[in-house]
Symmetry: C3
Subunit: 144 residues, 3 copies
């Protein structure tokens, strides 16, 4: 059994932006040498999220932003916005979507489906630098 | 420490259908021989989800479909629907609910509450074959 | 590799209440002696949730309850409410938010961001006793 961790940073341009990090996750798992186990992809922020879904342009550039705006609208009043950035809606959306996705690992690869990519979602109102942590735990000849 | 994985397939009949997979998950954990650790229940699809909640008929057959329809309605326009199946709403619902649930394992069993079942949710517009992956990581006399 | 688990109980006062359990989670990780790996914070209930977000008063006392009421209103009809407690909306909210958060562990600490706390959310209509399970899996001199 072994553990392996890799982190990387991503510059975003503000809400709602979806960035495909699947290749980075797959590379971290490969580098770990871990063949079987799990990988947790986590972002240590409260106005960003990690989800797994299809990286199809209409879906992530138009449908997802529109759906989030219907569910958690920017335009209503947020008590949080009196404390700083006008990003109360971003916090609620992040709590809803979650900061991580956990995926089984088999044969040294995350077991994602064909139409399933790992996406970092920027939910804040302005451009940010986001950290993504890829933590692998499992069996195999870990080269660490 | 050990890892153990089991996969199975489920035939669904289309949205919104909740299928209780708790017994399959418990059996996989028991078969693993792992006594303490975690189990990740994952579905490698972008229009399905895994959630933990009560398998009560009114809740899963009527309230959950109605709530999803209020939050992410079928009837609005989705850019994604120009690319193929009219399942844009299913993708958004799946991103929201998530493809996995991770549960602590104690004494060889998932630590679910009495009113807490593991449910596969079919969120696509038509019947599908869905894979469910149960990945256990932990301590114990793993018979693998 | 090692596993370590700690559970604790929390008395709540009914919906929507957010209770910061970050210190309890950090203490469990420290006590485990595990330096690198993951920690899963899980609640075995179907009308409660675990989320990671900022413990800012306006956000958790006003914005989050208001947002949940907009997305999953109390006032609509729930089939589940004919079976017992009038908490159908609480079940749906719990399914949406999820019973757990999984966080990478580095240097013996959960890798949470500065504005990211682990919150137990009470989503039921009345006061309850809630269990929280903290399960750590990873590497290090586990003193168990």
């Amino acid at each position: 059994m072994a553990t392996y961790r890799q982190s990387f940073s991503i510059e975003t341009r503000g809400e709602v932006q979806a960035i495909d990090v699947t290749d980075r996750v797959a590379l971290a798992v490969k580098t770990s040498g871990i063949r079987d186990g799990i990988v947790c992809v986590f972002t240590p922020h409260s106005t960003a999220a990690i989800v797994a879904n299809e990286r199809e342009r209409g879906l992530i550039e138009r449908d997802l932003p529109a759906a989030l705006e219907r569910m958690v609208p920017r335009g209503v009043s947020y008590a949080h916005n009196q404390a700083g950035d006008p990003n109360g809606h971003g916090h609620i959306r992040a709590a809803l979507l979650g900061p991580s996705v956990t995926i089984p690992v088999a044969d040294g690869r995350p077991m994602l489906g064909t139409w399933q990519q790992v996406l970092l979602l920027e939910l804040d109102v302005r451009k940010r630098t986001r950290e993504v942590v890829v933590q692998v735990v499992g069996d195999g000849a870990a080269n660490v």
